[in-house]
């Protein structure tokens, strides 16, 4: 009796795990079918539940006017965001983890505030400011806004990463002949590099996925998300699906690459 309830509980558990996995994967699979089907199939009914491995939709996507430029813009913006958010954010993360200084509380508040703010809304006044400074409709201008989005995360994540490196290691390096700078480059940096890479990738994904600010701030130099959003009403289904697929692929790879750090990063960013 007891063994029976235990095994049925076991079954229920396994079944729910599989069900929840299916819940995540099946919609992605549907998108994959549509992407790997010819435009005609995509618009036909009923749908087959196996892909026909036709690259017609993807070819159409690649040939669609402006699409490849949008893809290139997306990569550029995300790449710049990644570099800027780490270069600007990591020093602050280091300062938070290593020093107690007057104003630290205020600074943390500023960082948390940005996270609690509907940031894409700032794109509205920035549009005006950018027109004045000639940054409007440029890849760099958008990257600046996306960096604002990514910075709270990069500060908090690098803060937690640096906190994971015992101060004792740095102190040992100082007593062994290092300055603050050489102790950082010889000891802290090699230990932190994988984590920094993960948080850089995180910043990349934030920028890559951002829709609202991208749509507001770019007109000619649209990113992929902005381009797709703008053409939602008019573009044919197979274009939407192929575009959606291209949007998803890097995300899949990135999440896989940073999976080890995802939890460590959030564990401390919590506090």
């Amino acid at each position: 009796m007891n063994a029976q309830t235990q095994s049925s509980g076991r079954f229920l558990y396994t079944a729910s795990v599989i069900l929840l996995c299916a819940w995540v994967i099946v919609p992605l699979y549907f998108l994959l079918i549509n992407t790997l089907s010819s435009p005609d199939t995509v618009n036909s009914f009923p749908k087959s539940f196996v892909p026909e491995f036709d690259l017609g939709s993807l070819q159409f996507f690649a040939g669609f006017a402006g699409m490849l430029t949008a893809l290139k813009n997306s990569i550029l913006v995300a790449g710049m965001t990644m570099i800027m958010s780490i270069l600007i954010g990591a020093p602050a993360g280091y300062a938070l983890s290593r020093f107690d200084f007057p104003g630290k509380g205020l600074f943390r508040l500023l960082i948390l505030l940005t996270r609690a703010f509907p940031l894409p809304l700032l794109a509205l006044p920035l549009a005006v400011m950018f027109i004045r400074t000639g940054l409007d409709d440029t890849v760099f201008g958008l990257a600046l806004v996306h960096t604002t989005l990514a910075i709270p995360f990069s500060v908090l994540i690098t803060f937690s990463l640096f906190s994971g490196i015992p101060l004792e290691l740095e102190e040992a390096a100082w007593t062994l002949g290092c300055t603050r700078l050489t102790a950082f480059t010889k000891v802290v940096l090699p230990l932190i590099l994988p984590g920094i890479t993960a948080s850089a990738i995180f910043a990349f994904v934030i920028s890559w996925n951002e829709v609202f600010a991208a749509a507001v701030l770019t007109i000619e130099n649209r990113t992929l998300t902005a381009f797709l959003l703008q053409n939602l009403d008019t573009s044919p289904l197979h274009l939407k699906f192929a575009g959606g697929f291209i949007l998803v692929v890097p995300a899949l790879i990135f999440i896989f690459a940073v999976r080890k750090y995802l939890f460590a990063m959030w564990g401390i960013a919590n506090r």
Binding site: E168, L169, A172, W174, T175, C178
Partner: protein, 346 residues
């Protein structure tokens, strides 16, 4: 030559005064232990000498040179940390050679020194390993070897053995003492473990609430505590205390018994170590409360005039709970303290 002079060093963290006006001179090649409970300021003092912390006031001199304004790397010190601080991304070889590489020594000199110190610490078989593949004891050896390889004037150790298990700690204690004696360096060693302090030190500085209470050889600290705090801190179990009333002419009444004491004509505290008493016909009357046979001897916790009083007796004796004992203190081991100033009275 590396004499260390600490002159009027004080340290405040905001409102909290961690160190009060510390003055201490440590002779060349001396093994000095800073002993105290956690929070007494011993680690802070060590870190000020290392340059990891800045003193609020005072000066630190090493080898006749004032160094308190210098960064750690320019002080001629090496340090062993409590958690060893072995760099996880470097092999044992590169860990030991880290400081030498920073000094840009030629490769063959680095190899020579690394191999010599690794041999000294018996880790020459581990040179290619990473810290993740080492046991706690092995990491400890790497940390010491790394400090020794620097051939420093002064070696600073912050509770280096506290993370090892008891048996390993005893083994490392003896080994460390031997290695350091041969290296001719001045050593400052921080610990809260009095056995470690007694067994290793040339001199012990007992610290309490940010002050050095007594700095003397281990046997002096044990036999002649300068303050009541030291008497109650050193020794396991520590000294017993009883109130003493003056009877004039250097005589004091303690628990109904008369003892010869200092000439001071005021109430004092009588102190005696638990092992400095024998069972006798005349002496202090004590009621046994707890009897603990510890093998080598018998620890009896008693009450004398309603006060807790411990005696360490011969293990052959038969003592049971509730027995009345007459304990005779050895006259030359009795110490006296002034209850107002807490200082020893001769």
């Amino acid at each position: 030559m590396a004499v260390i002079e600490i002159k009027n060093v004080a340290k405040r963290f905001g409102e909290y005064q961690a160190l009060h006006d510390i003055n201490l001179t440590i002779a060349d090649q001396e093994f000095m232990v800073l002993l105290g409970a956690s929070g007494c300021g011993k680690s802070t003092l060590l870190r000020i000498i290392a340059g990891l912390e800045t003193a609020t006031e005072g000066e630190v001199w090493i080898g006749g040179k004032r160094i308190d304004h210098l960064p750690p790397k320019d002080r001629g010190i090496a340090m062993v940390f409590q958690n060893y601080a072995v760099f996880p991304h470097l092999t044992v070889f590169e860990n030991i050679g880290f400081g030498l590489r920073m000094q840009k020594l030629p490769n063959d000199e680095v190899t020579r020194r690394v191999e010599r110190t690794a041999g000294l610490m018996h880790i020459d078989q581990l040179l290619k390993r990473y810290s993740g593949e080492l046991s706690g004891g092995q990491r400890q050896r790497v940390a010491v070897a790394r400090a020794l390889a620097m051939e420093p004037d002064v070696i600073l150790m912050d509770e280096p053995l506290s993370n090892l298990d008891a048996l390993l700690r005893m083994e490392m204690r003896a080994e460390l003492k031997g290695v350091l004696a041969e290296s001719n360096t001045t050593a400052i060693y921080v610990t809260h473990d009095q056995v470690e302090a007694m067994s290793m030190a040339d001199r012990i500085s007992v610290m309490h609430e940010g002050r050095i209470v007594q700095a003397a050889s281990p046997i002096d600290v044990y036999r002649d505590p300068a303050e009541r705090f030291v008497a109650g801190f050193i020794g396991n179990p520590p000294m017993n205390f009883l109130d003493a009333t003056p009877q004039g002419a250097g005589q004091f009444l303690v628990a109904g018994q008369s003892f010869a004491g200092p000439s001071a004509n005021k109430p004092l505290e009588f102190a005696i170590r638990p092992e400095d008493m024998t069972l006798s016909e005349t002496g202090l009357t004590a009621t046994a409360k707890v009897v603990e046979p510890l093998g080598a001897h018998l620890l009896v916790t008693c009450e004398v005039e309603g006060k807790l009083f411990r005696a360490v007796l011969d293990s052959d004796l038969r003592v049971s709970m509730g027995d009345t004992l007459t304990l005779a203190p050895m006259q030359d081991r009795i110490r006296w303290f002034d209850p107002d100033t807490q200082i020893a009275v001769k």
